[in-house]
């Protein structure tokens, strides 16, 4: 090939490269834009997700209350059973029907409302729990006869929605849960300063309820708490022990190598088995075969333990693997047995990684729903569970139950419960991040 020929070919090549440039630059820009768009879409979804949750759920942390003036009944003081006033004040007030006190107070506020039907409508502005609030307030105040007390009682969910702007008063009357006259009364209460949004403590102190304004997540939180306690007590020690065995003690000769592969594949596969299948296992083994109680945090915790075990084992193995071999050799060279080497030297070094993995496993367990449906933790449970075998539900299941409720007032409470759940998950994951960072700093 002559030099001239080569220069000729080189020039041709350069011309063709230039000719291709415009098309290639356009494709490059498109490709880059597609990547940016994909990343932005993922982040935008995340933002939208949290924005909509907060927008929907924030209002559930407050609840509309109505201020009632209640006169402490004389009846309470002349209780014949306890003339000297020794008994618990609760017993003293019981003879008086607190609902009647509420009605009296309403009559005072709306003297012009007289018809039986209207009075019933008026009472519906307040939560059915209003009487109970009044009773509690009277007891707390020490209830001296004849004194007037101003008490904030929860409003009905419909009034709550109206005052939060979730109910459109311009809709045709028969299509909305509040009548025109009821809306007028609410406006009057508001004008008198007797309508106010206060912190919704019921959300955190009550169990589930059919009434939105009374429904709380305390029961679900306790259920989740007991479950995680069981999971933690089982999955953490077993997971770490399994990881230690597989990394340090499992025989590694030619005969057992395929066996080791099998365990490896088995654990990795188990980590990817759909959680609902674990629910089926729990149902068949724990409920049907072992006759453990349904809906119990104990069984939920057992199922979640099996579910999180692979996560903890995988993380712990990785943490143990990352301990430097020189520590191993140094310990063995000093005459430590393998067991002493593991428990005195390797595990303390691997602990941060193990803990991080455990926390991530626990946070996965906290958000898990499907397997709990299989073992009967979806019941409507008002009572707050007090132990491992009490019927209970869990926070994510509560979210599922509320999301399924047709009552529109539950929508914001569902969002609020989700925010609480995400808050817990955030704290757990932050803890994992902090531990991981500490570990990295130490090394």
């Amino acid at each position: 090939m002559s030099s001239v020929d080569r220069q000729q070919r080189s020039r041709t090549a350069r011309r063709r490269v230039r000719a291709s440039l415009a098309r290639r630059r356009r494709r490059e820009r498109l490709f880059r834009a597609a990547g940016l768009l994909a990343t932005a879409a993922g982040l935008a979804f995340l933002g939208m997700f949290f924005a909509s949750l907060i927008a929907k759920g924030a209002s559930a942390f407050v609840q509309t209350h109505v201020l009632l003036d209640v006169e402490t009944p004389v009846a309470a003081l002349i209780d014949p059973v306890d003339p000297v006033g020794q008994a618990d004040p609760i017993d003293l007030i019981d003879p008086v029907d607190p609902d009647a006190l509420v009605n009296d107070s309403l009559r005072e506020l709306f003297p012009l409302v007289t018809s039986r039907n209207d009075r019933r409508q008026l009472a519906r502005l307040l939560s059915i729990d209003a009487g109970e609030s009044v009773r509690r307030a009277l007891v707390a105040a020490g209830a001296e006869a004849g004194t007037r007390l101003s008490i904030w009682v929860p409003a009905a969910a419909t009034v709550d929605m109206l005052s939060k702007g979730q109910l459109d008063p311009d809709v045709e009357e028969r299509l909305r849960p509040l009548s025109d006259v009821q809306i007028a009364w609410v406006a009057q209460l508001k004008g008198e300063g007797r309508l106010k949004k206060r912190f919704n403590s019921a959300l955190f102190t009550n169990g589930d309820s059919r009434e939105p304004e009374l429904a709380g997540i305390r029961g679900a939180l306790m259920g989740s708490f007991y479950m995680l306690l069981v999971t933690m007590a089982l999955a953490f020690p077993i997971g770490v022990a399994a990881a230690v065995y597989l990394e340090e003690f499992a025989p590694r000769n030619r005969w057992s190598a395929p066996f080791g592969r099998l365990i490896e594949v088995n654990i990795n596969n188990l980590a990817a088995v759909p959680s609902i299948v674990f629910g089926l296992l729990g149902l068949a083994v724990f409920i049907d075969w072992l006759a453990l109680p349904r809906s119990a945090p104990l069984v939920g915790g057992l199922v979640l333990s099996l579910l999180t075990l692979p996560v903890i084992i995988i993380a712990s193995r990785a943490a143990i693997q990352s301990v430097s071999p020189s520590i191993r050799e140094a310990a063995l060279a000093l005459g430590a047995s393998r067991m002493q080497m593991v428990f005195h030297h390797i595990l303390p070094q691997a602990l941060p990684g193990v803990l991080t993995g455990t926390i991530i496993g626990m946070s996965r367990a906290l958000g898990e729903t499907a397997p709990l449906l299989m073992i009967g933790m979806v019941a409507f449970i008002v009572d707050i569970p007090g132990g491992f075998t009490d019927p209970a539900t869990a926070l994510p299941v509560q979210i599922y139950l509320w999301a399924d409720t047709p009552e529109p007032a539950f929508a914001e409470r569902t969002s609020a419960a989700i925010l609480v759940l995400l808050g817990f998950l955030l704290v757990m994951n932050l803890a994992a991040v902090v531990i991981r960072q500490r570990m990295e700093n130490k090394v």
Partner: protein, 304 residues
């Protein structure tokens, strides 16, 4: 201080606090300044002659930084149209960084920055609007470790022509592939294995495949970054023969650790030390009669 646009024929003076264009330089305090003094105690560097007849690539006052690290200090060097120039020097002296400046491979390294002026055939390659794609089609590069793509031998060689649209049809592409493999002295060995993965060839064959891949694009310059350091002596000898043949048509800039290799294949040699160009000269001259003490130390094996 020198005007960056006017290069004195004898070279430029390197000083501890850095010469060149003060407006373009950011770090004036360098941890290496003590060593730099040692380099320059001999006087002005580089010694020898950075100029050549009919220069094709001209690098003037090139500085390169990786973050805070000043990897190339004020290097000026000319490279002719068809010559083999070897860059030698101890590890970390900036030889590789320097050739990566020539085809702008440092662009994709985060925090990397290059100042100074490099022209190819009279055109500034760092000019705004110049597409590195065009530049790299003209300046090919062969890497230290053979890096064939995980594709067939044929597709490896055809990759460049395909992306650049160099072949109008399949027949022309076949021609380019066969021609390039022939040129790289590989055709005979792989004629019947064109559909097998390039990664299954031997190390030396892989490196020749990479050379074939590079010349398939019809470049004018080939940069070689220690192309034989991962190969056995026989494969090395074949590559060196190949470089000899290619030298007829291409300007070749080869970075090497081996002084024997530099002596065997190159017409000129440039000695780098700690990011500075210390000495440039005809190969014979530099190996028989080095001017700078550091060059002499390196050649006689006192610096490794």
């Amino acid at each position: 201080m020198n005007d960056p646009n006017v290069i004195e024929p004898g070279g430029v003076e390197a000083s501890a606090d850095g010469p060149g264009d003060p407006g373009r330089r950011s770090d004036t305090v360098s941890p290496r300044s003590a060593v730099a003094e040692q380099i320059t105690e001999f006087g002005r560097i580089p010694v020898g002659n950075v100029r050549c007849e009919d220069p094709f690539i001209i690098a003037e006052n090139v500085n390169a930084y990786y973050g805070d690290i000043h990897a190339i200090r004020n290097v000026t060097l000319e490279i002719a149209k068809s010559e083999v120039i070897a860059l030698i020097g101890p590890s970390g002296c900036g030889k590789t960084t320097f050739i990566r400046c020539l085809n702008r491979m440092n662009d994709s390294v985060e925090h990397a920055r290059v100042t100074g002026r490099i022209t190819l055939d009279g055109q500034d390659i760092y000019e705004r609007g110049l597409d590195p794609v065009v530049l790299r089609a003209r300046i090919g590069m062969v890497f230290q470790k053979p890096n064939p793509f995980p594709k067939s031998v044929y597709d490896n060689v055809a990759y460049g022509p395909r992306i650049h649209g160099l072949a109008a049809d399949r027949a022309e592409l076949d021609d380019i592939v066969h021609g390039s493999l022939e040129r790289a002295g590989l055709l005979k060995e792989v004629k019947d294995r064109l559909d097998e993965p390039g990664t299954e060839l031997s190390g030396g064959q892989q490196q020749r495949l990479c050379i074939a891949r590079t010349i398939a694009v019809n470049p004018e310059v080939i940069l070689m970054d220690e192309p034989c350091s991962a190969l056995d002596p026989i494969a090395t000898a074949r590559i060196e023969d190949l470089i000899d043949e290619l030298a007829e048509d291409y300007a070749i800039v080869i970075v090497t650790h081996s002084m024997q290799q530099a002596a065997r294949v190159s017409r000129r040699v440039a000695y780098f030390h700690l990011g500075m160009l210390v000495e440039v000269d005809e190969t014979d001259r530099i190996f028989t009669n080095p001017q700078h003490k550091l060059t002499e130390d390196y050649i006689t094996g006192r610096i490794g």
